[in-house]
């Protein structure tokens, strides 16, 4: 007979004592919280990997905001590569008066070179592979677009100056973005029809792409050739580069969600520590006895460790199963944001689950078990003898290490790790401090309430540490849910209300320079309040202070993105009211024609620029250098045309560009917009309300996922509560028996218990509502700069929700205490 056999034999019987159940529950929730996110991220990553080869619809893409010379195509032809072209631009598509902003994709024969286009004969119908591309005069709108404007096969759509017949409904195309739905629905058309729409004017905002495919080596050598022969403004995309970019974005989102679920893991760790402490208390006698009967320390330790490992394995498996279920739930929450069906996940997230279980058990349950094995045999004769006190580093070191490891493992960045740990510590100290004060306050209330409440409140105060831990856990979970579910909507609505009534709700871009005046008059005639009109020129930054962009290391990913993307630049004589100069000075008439630029504060910060720095741009092949003359703080939510980069007048006038403006129009009159688009077919119209609605729906879905993750935090709070009740069960049972012996009836005792948990829930709700309101006020004042009155409903939901949730959980956990006849308890005491 060995230690393993004894461990196995007693494990099932130990189950009844409860703390092993709490251990399993805590580890299960912790594992589920992390694996849930892990499985989701894994599935999305696999989807990206699977479609990586098709994500470009080619092996290699040359992309530019301007027209691309033929020489690349000729070179590809001479090398025997396949090629095709694609032009992407945004425009409004009409079916009668119904309109929708659409991502037009005009493609040439041969498209797609990799992957398949699938179509159907009706919106949301069954997909079949398409034969070629749309014929001239025909278009294939996506189901989403067809539904929005009520189009079907046979409908006639207006796009710019042209009219087109819907011959198929587009179901999918390989380069539609592998995983996430794009904001505007797409429409596929023949490249030969683009000119007829008159949408493309010199300087129009569009993306031209040349697609190449062929044998791997030929493509690689062609890519090398392109790198040396392409223009500065042209961008080369290959599969190896595109997929990692998407994956890195997914990885970042995954890390954020994992961080959110780590809070649940931390709470579960507290429950594990509580359960382990009780396990140790209950086993001191058994270990002493086994040692008396001849067991060595290693033997007793093996028994406990075997049970711990078994509990860990069972919980990790259960947690992974629950995590898989949770991930399915997350996928449902994200429905509409994710495209198509995701492939099944790999096994890697199971590793996350087991690692979590090992870290939490190793950090929080192992140290007490090591202590347990040091119980002296003498305890069989003297009950006051226990294991020697452990060194502080051995008691808390593993816990700190385990949590540190999990946080670092999720973040993988020292700076973020330190910031998160400090932030979390500060948050916990503040919430726990406030919780401690609240628990103290209940002492004063005891005089003025009935016997049940007095008993309940006295219990809260007597087990103050446990009460504060539970309070912190619940307050945290409820606070986050209140913030995401209630305060967020309040803030968004208050922000919308804070905008003046005449805030522009339509943006117009790609206004041809020669139609600028006519366009302004058109808007004026229809009573639209017009904002300022600014020119818009596409440019690409090439150097900062003479140093090539490629040689500069930017501190943030955003800075790198700012530097590398196509810039929209403008020039102006006057400064808008929504712009404020914070450094330097705005242009004077004497600056006309001088190489000076005014830069927004965000741009300065992300690119680490300072006044007097020189920036060099490539504007359709022309090289311009300008010195930073001023820094502007821009109020972006004025919804006026605004730019990061504004040049002095007279410098860019020769550059090819279009104009843009914004206006407030009656959105309920679609005819005005329809007239406008027919009259000025090249102008792209953006309905701000539509865009905001779409952005909001994306944010809502993403937040639904975050909320789901924070439900784990609440579950973890419940586990802490169960662990605390479990730890105090004998004590509670004895108290209940004593009270009933003294004449209290069952309902009085039950009311007392309910009072205790209701008070705990209400106090948590109070803390949560206070925290959510403070956070709301902070965001309103500092971020949105709007007046904000905290919503009284936050308090209602917090207090009532908290009270009900914790009362119910507490009642479920303690009802056996009241149900047991007092005589049994007193006899066994």
């Amino acid at each position: 007979m060995n230690a393993f056999a004894i461990a196995l034999r007693t494990l099932l019987r130990e189950w009844k004592s409860g703390e092993l159940g709490v251990l399993v529950l805590a580890i299960t929730v912790a594992v589920a919280a992390l694996t849930g996110v892990g499985f989701l991220v894994d599935r999305i990553s696999i989807a990206v990997d699977n479609q990586a080869g098709e994500v470009l619809a080619a092996d290699l893409v040359l992309e530019s905001a301007q027209s691309i010379d033929d020489h690349a195509m000729r070179e590809a032809q001479s090398r025997g590569l396949q090629f095709s072209s694609k032009t992407g631009l945004l425009s409004v598509v009409f079916n009668g008066d119904a309109s929708q902003l659409t991502a037009l994709r005009a493609v040439s024969a041969g498209y797609p070179l990799r992957g398949k286009v699938t179509v159907s004969n009706e919106p949301f119908g069954a997909a079949t592979p398409a034969d070629g591309i749309p014929a001239r005069g025909e278009v294939w709108p996506e189901s989403r677009l067809a539904a929005a404007i009520g189009a079907s096969v046979g409908s006639e759509l207006s796009i710019g100056a042209g009219k087109f017949r819907v011959s198929r409904i587009l179901v999918s195309r390989p380069d539609q973005g592998a995983t996430f739905v794009e904001l505007a629905p797409a429409l596929l058309m023949n490249d030969g029809d683009l000119a007829g729409t008159q949408l493309v004017q010199p300087g129009s905002r569009l993306t031209r792409s040349l697609l190449f495919a062929g044998p791997r080596d030929a493509v690689k050598s062609f890519a090398d050739w392109l790198k040396t022969h392409k223009k500065e403004s042209e961008r080369l995309l290959d599969v190896d580069e595109t997929a990692p970019q998407i994956k890195s974005a997914i990885d970042r989102s995954g890390r954020f969600l994992s961080l959110a679920s780590l809070v649940a893991v931390l709470l579960c760790s507290i429950a594990v520590a509580m359960a382990a402490r009780r396990y140790v208390q209950r086993h001191l006698d058994s270990v002493a006895l086994m040692k008396t009967l001849g067991a060595t320390r290693a033997f007793t330790l093996t028994v406990s460790l075997t049970q711990l490992i078994l509990v860990g394995v069972i919980a990790a498996v259960l947690g992974s199963v629950l995590g898989f279920g949770a991930q399915e739930w997350l996928v449902i929450a994200l429905k509409g944001l994710l495209k198509g069906d995701l492939p099944p996940p790999g096994l890697a997230p199971l590793g996350i689950g087991f690692l979590t279980a090992v870290a939490v058990l190793g950090g929080f349950a192992l140290p007490p078990l090591l202590q347990l094995s040091r119980t002296p045999a003498l305890r069989v004769l003297r009950r006051d003898v226990g294991p020697p006190a452990p060194l502080v580093i051995l008691a808390f070191g593993p816990a700190v290490l385990a949590i540190g490891f999990l946080i670092y493992w999720v973040l993988r960045d020292v700076g973020m790790f330190v910031a998160f740990v400090l932030g979390l510590a500060a948050f916990v100290v503040i919430v726990a401090g406030a919780g401690w004060l609240l628990v103290r306050l209940t002492k004063r209330l005891r005089g003025g309430v009935g016997v049940s409440w007095r008993y309940g409140l006295a219990n809260l105060g007597r087990r103050r540490t446990e009460s504060v831990v539970q309070l912190t856990a619940f307050a945290h979970g409820i606070m986050v849910l209140l913030l995401l579910a209630v305060v967020r909507n309040d803030l968004l609505n208050d922000w919308r209300r804070s905008l003046p009534a005449d805030t522009p709700n339509f943006f117009f871009i790609n206004i041809p320079p020669d139609q600028n005046q006519e366009f302004a008059q058109f808007l004026k005639d229809r009573g639209a309040e017009r904002a300022r009109v600014l020119p818009m020129v596409r440019a690409r930054m090439t150097h900062i202070n003479g140093k090539p962009i490629d040689d500069i290391r930017f501190a943030t990913p955003r800075g790198k993105e700012f530097a590398n993307r196509d810039q929209n630049i403008t020039w102006a004589e006057t400064l808008g009211r929504d712009n404020e100069i914070t450094e330097g000075r705005w242009f004077t008439p004497a600056d006309t024609g001088k190489p000076l630029v005014s830069v927004s504060t965000e741009y300065m910060k992300e690119l680490n620029l300072k006044l007097g720095d020189t920036l060099q741009f490539d504007i359709a092949g022309d090289v311009r250098t300008a010195t930073i003359a001023s820094v502007r703080k821009v109020k972006w939510d004025s919804f006026q045309p605004n730019f990061f980069l504004m040049f002095a007048p007279g410098l860019l006038e020769g550059a090819q560009g279009t104009w843009m403006t914004a206006a407030h129009m009656d959105a309920r009159n679609p005819k005005t917009i329809a007239d406008l688009v027919r009259r000025f077919p090249s102008v792209s119209v953006f309905n701000v309300d539509d865009l905001l609605r779409q952005v909001r729906s994306v944010i809502d879905k993403a937040l639904a996922a975050v909320q789901s993750v924070f439900l784990f935090t609440l579950m973890a709070g419940l586990v802490v509560l169960i662990a605390a009740v479990q730890a105090s069960r004998e004590e509670r049972r004895f108290e209940s028996a004593m009270l009933r012996t003294l004449g209290a009836n069952r309902s009085t005792v039950l009311k007392g218990l309910l009072a205790e948990f209701a008070a705990l829930g209400v106090l948590s709700g109070t803390l949560a509502a206070a925290g959510a309101s403070i956070a709301g006020v902070y965001v309103a004042k500092r971020v949105l700069q709007i007046p904000y009155t905290p919503d009284p409903w936050v308090w209602f939901y917090g207090l009532v929700g908290g009270g009900l949730l914790v009362s119910l959980a507490g009642w479920l956990a303690t009802r056996s205490v009241v149900n047991q006849p007092p005589v049994l308890t007193l006899r066994s005491a």
């Binding site: 007979m1 060995n2 056999a5 004894i6 034999r9 007693t10 019987r13 130990e14 006698d285 058994s286 006895l289 086994m290 040692k291 008396t292 009967l293 001849g294 067991a295 060595t296 320390r297 290693a298 033997f299 002296p376 045999a377 003498l378 069989v380 004769l381 003297r382 066994s828």
Partner: protein, 220 residues
């Protein structure tokens, strides 16, 4: 032949009042199959002496030889192994493992000593203490007397050289206590085990071959 020998045994502990001597320079020699009662008032040091003799505690000075082995030269695990092979215990509060059945409790010391015949030997011993019908019961399903019978079976099942009993009737009513003591002495006589028994009860002590009186840590 001596099976348990203590030479100049002293146990001192620190307390808020300063250093306390609980066992003071005790020497004794107990022969094989002898039965010895240690009696004395509460706080006289009886249980501490028992703990030292059984290797559950270590003396501040002095030497103990148990079944030929120098207990004071062994570490904790060494003493545990020696107990597994040569020592049995009966306690006042029974000390059964609540999650194990009567049979499993009796098997436990045999299993700790890696004996293959654990089950058969435990069943046989439980039969000897009159509990053949209750082998599958858990401690909480047994009366106090039955629990102590299980404890006695557990103590004898390894056929120990020395059996230590600490107030074996302390938690039992008089009638049950007498039956338990009879059982203990009967089994002791059958197995030729050395019995070292700590008790308050003069009647129980009188059944032993020798009575040692403890008083303020000293053996009189």
């Amino acid at each position: 032949m001596s099976v348990l020998k203590a030479e100049n045994l002293t146990k001192k502990v620190t307390s808020p009042e300063g250093m306390l001597t609980i066992v003071d320079n005790v020497s004794l020699d107990i022969a094989a199959a002898e039965s010895v009662a240690i009696v004395g008032a509460s706080g006289a040091g009886k249980s501490t002496l028992l703990a030292l003799l059984a290797g559950l505690d270590t003396p501040s000075s002095g030497r103990i030889t148990l079944a030929g082995a120098d207990l004071t030269a062994l570490d904790e695990d060494g003493r545990a192994r020696l107990r597994a092979e040569r020592v049995g215990f009966v306690f006042q509060s029974f000390h059964l493992v609540p999650s194990l059945t009567a049979l499993e409790n009796v098997m436990l010391p045999l299993e700790l000593a890696a004996r293959r015949d654990a089950r058969a030997a435990a069943l046989e011993t439980l039969g000897r203490v009159g509990l053949a019908q209750r082998t599958g019961h858990y401690p909480r399903q047994l009366s106090g007397g039955e629990q102590q019978r299980v404890a006695i079976a557990r103590a004898f099942v390894t056929r120990p050289a020395v059996l230590f009993a600490d107030e074996p009737t302390g938690n039992l009513d008089t009638h049950t206590g007498e039956r338990i003591v009879s059982l203990l002495f009967d089994l002791n006589a059958q197995s030729h085990t050395t019995l070292v028994l700590v008790t308050h009860d003069r009647n129980v002590a009188a059944r032993c071959g020798r009575i040692l009186q403890m008083d303020s840590g000293l053996l009189r």
